[in-house]
Symmetry: C2
Subunit: 542 residues, 2 copies
């Protein structure tokens, strides 16, 4: 691509979209280049289409001029690169104006959404239209895109927590501008596009997730009826040995279908980070809390070394029976508390009465966390769930409005290895991960979510002060070490940030075959590499 | 491909495999050409490798000489084409000697199997090694391949009934002889290949199911622990109106997570076919039972117009609570009976005591069916589940040995449209389907399985006398009409027989884009079209 090609393309795009939807000013480009990582990646321009046909035309122009496009939904890929492309020299295709909820079917429990539809938008739609369906939400806050999270194969908390699994019928704009409909959607007569995923012939849905094969402009997401009864359980685990025992029990509860939600484990630090920011007033510098301070904060906030939540959904008597089994099996090793609507309402009422009594502060903090967890397990998108991202910010946090970590110059990187759900593997993985954090001088903020009955997804957060250059370098170094270690030990990440696409490939013949195959498939439908070059395609750019 | 190329390849294959594993004799080729359909498709030869490396070498030789290979697992794709390729001029790659169970992990509940591993083989393995894990089985009998069914995205009965969903980590030989490992398997260090499906980057599993993209030589299948308690429910529905009401209730029970197994609905005829063959002694010709005879046989066998089964698994109190809700909601419209181990044992004991009393014949017949359903819902592969395929045979059925419908010259075709799980759609679809059966002079044998809470998969069987040429033609005609009708009405099949690959594509732009994309992807990794030409690739051969 030459500058004249870019100029020609920009002219055509401006004719197509109007100059109010084509952005080249350095201020905005800088804004889109920001990430919570230690890097910024600038784009060439930003395009903001309003319709499917505009997306098609944009792609055709891009293909003609060989200009790479980097589609984003709402661009809130926190901790993994946000709005920024994998490399510079790309034009961002901002799909946030495609924000239509096409349909919600009450009977068959699904919604059809575009990339710009946020978690809150769908939640409000269900609420406003009194539709008794629940959605699954990720913890990334109300303003994130539903479709974007599906494309990254993100996860949430309820039995529908595997977002890829509970979606189907993708509408995809290919590099030649044609529209591909996955599943049954390509049959114009189809009455089953929204209710069955794999359809007929090779199943293509997976190809368009964590990839750069096309631009997904519409998907079906499955919802579920508000259950007759809902109960949430919270587990407090006093140390890592007990954690390992809880892990083994919980695997069995998940495999035996007693617990159908994801179960979310978080260490004390990770939970602290959602309640406060780093106590700069106590220690001006450094990223590590001294042990005594960590314990003090843990106790003040009513936390344990590890803390877990999960929920039960369905017939009231069945929920209660399953709940009893959870308590019976887990309380041998940890404290289990259960909550339903009545109990949560009562607790909130009590706390509001005794609001001024300071000796209840630990309870108040716990209740705040419970309210968040309780909401997430019911598919309510809450901006409080994103507060954790601000741990290292030096700005005052405004809890009354939506949080954009970028506005707070929040520095954090996520690394998310999969771990088999056994005590042995969890022990091994935690030892490796925690020792690297320590070695690099960062506190380990760790959650682990049982995304299947057999597997945990750990999300390890490295927080750092973005304003501090040497700390940023140290954070990147810590990330690299963690990445190398989990790859080396076989706890492979389920998703990576823009800084790690190249690292996905190693020199083993099987890895080469895999990524070469991916690249051959990519070339077959995007021969000029127009869409998101290098994204989950480590063979490109070699 | 010329004859000399074939000859050269056969020589090389013989050197590789030994002449005892390369078959060109017309007798065997004829045997492999047989189908339960109205067609036979001859292959050029049959190769029977014993190892992965032999498969690789075979493919390399085939690629060099441009000879198409048609891989089969155990070749028991009944009703959809059996062992036979989509077109003649292909060499069958019979993978039945790759029959190793590589591993069963008790803790994480999975097995690693090759294409030649049958349902019975894994079942026996679990039994012999006293491993308290259950598997999901299809109703296609004990001798069918587990891997083969996953590749066709077949289904079973338990909560793990979606065979594609509960498998991962495929080992695939590509057309160039290289080995691709899907999921995390391509990382040599990986400890998570068996516990997490989508892995990192584009998810490729779906690409190798219902396709011709590669030869799958090993997969992981997920199993589940024997539940603490198991209860099966059987529903008798007296007419189609009641069926529609049950469908709506059952959708809600499935969506509300009360019932987690597939629920299997069968009409009277379909159940009759699993208990007896066509009563040629009462009516020498014809495929349709007169209404009074149909009613008589229905009553004698203790059947209703529609009959359904499903099961509940887990904590005993939770199972009982969910069971109560099933009874409460369904018994408004139909008779519900529930069975657990104790009750089934008691019934079998009672019947054995009163065995000679003929007035119990309906009960005896019902109990036989219950025993089969009860077994399937526990993942026990039973050859009785395949008896239904023999409806139109004129041979004496030997119930004491495994059934191969081909040995009985059994004629039947399966057509399997997906229907949204609402009364409205079921009513519409059944009207269309049943009227075509009637119009074509065949009785409608129909099952519908709730493969997801939102969708039913109907399997409609056209039985015909293979020895009767005009009847075979009429059957094919009926199949074509059914196929056109369900496509036209938007109830698209989830899987098709070898006779229908071309019919998957229609003239709509979206259908053309879809199948062209599939073909481009195919060409990218199999440029010479070596593997299973035309299989789920309707663009080939145009």
């Amino acid at each position: 691509m030459s500058m004249s090609q870019l100029e020609a393309a920009l002219n055509e795009w401006t004719c197509l979209l109007g100059k109010e939807n084509v952005f080249c000013d350095s201020e905005l480009i800088k804004k889109y280049a920001r990430t919570t990582l230690a890097c910024e990646i600038s784009s060439l321009a930003i395009l903001s289409p309003k319709s499917l046909s505009e997306v098609q035309e944009i792609v055709i122009i891009a293909s003609r001029h060989k200009i790479p496009l980097y589609p984003i939904s709402l661009g809130k890929n926190w901790g993994y690169g946000d709005k920024a492309p994998v490399s510079s020299g790309q034009v961002i295709l901002d799909l946030s104006q495609l924000n239509k909820i096409h349909k919600v079917d009450k009977e068959l429990a699904y919604a059809v959404v575009e990339p710009g539809v946020s978690q809150m938008q769908l939640y409000q739609y269900l609420l406003n239209n009194k539709i008794p369906l629940w959605m699954d939400v990720s913890g990334a806050g109300p303003d994130t895109s539903i479709l974007g999270n599906v494309m990254e194969r993100g996860f949430g908390h309820t039995p529908y927590g595997d977002h890829f699994l509970y979606s189907c019928g993708y509408e995809v704009v290919l590099a030649d501008g044609s529209i591909l409909k996955t599943g049954f959607g390509h049959y114009p007569s189809s009455k089953v596009s929204e209710v069955f995923k794999s359809a007929i012939g090779p199943s293509l849905d997976g190809l368009f997730t964590q990839s750069n094969f096309g631009i997904v402009t519409k998907i079906v997401v499955w919802l579920f009826p508000k259950p007759d009864y809902f109960k949430c359980f919270a587990i407090q685990i006093e140390d890592e040995n007990k954690l390992l025992q809880v892990i083994d029990e919980m695997r069995q509860l998940r495999l035996n279908n007693v617990v159908q939600s994801h179960v979310h484990f978080g260490n004390d630090l990770r939970l602290l980070s959602s309640r406060m920011t780093f106590p700069y007033h106590l220690m001006a510098n450094g990223n590590c809390l001294p042990n005594d301070l960590r314990l003090k904060l843990r106790n003040e906030n009513g936390l344990s070394a590890w803390n877990a939540i999960g929920a039960l959904y369905g017939n009231k008597a069945a929920v209660n029976a399953n709940c009893k089994e959870v308590i019976r099996r887990i309380s041998k090793f940890a404290k289990v508390r259960v909550f339903d609507d009545k109990r949560v309402a009562l607790l909130n009422k009590l706390i509001s009465i005794f609001d001024k009594t300071s000796f209840l502060s630990a309870y108040r903090a716990k209740l705040a966390s419970l309210n968040i967890a309780y909401g997430l397990l019911q598919g309510i998108p809450l901006h409080q769930s994103l507060t954790g991202s601000l741990w290292q910010t030096k700005h005052q946090v405004n809890h009354n409005k939506s949080i954009d970590p970028l506005d707070y110059q929040a520095g954090f990187m996520w690394i998310s290895p999969i771990i088999p759900m056994t005590s042995e593997h969890v022990n091994n993985a935690l030892n490796i991960i925690q020792s690297i954090f320590q070695e690099c001088g960062f506190d380990p903020f760790i959650t682990m979510t049982s995304v299947t009955p057999r597997a945990l997804c750990a999300v390890c957060t490295i927080y750092f002060d973005k304003a501090n250059e040497s700390e940023s370098r140290r954070a990147s170094d810590c990330y690299d070490k963690l990445f190398a270690a989990v790859m080396n030990e076989g706890y492979i990440p389920y998703r990576v940030g823009i800084q790690s696409m190249k690292k996905l490939k190693n020199d083993s013949p099987s890895s080469l075959t895999y990524w070469d195959t991916v690249h051959k498939l990519k070339e077959a439908i995007d021969p000029f590499g127009i869409i998101s070059p290098q994204r989950y395609d480590p063979t490109t750019g070699d």
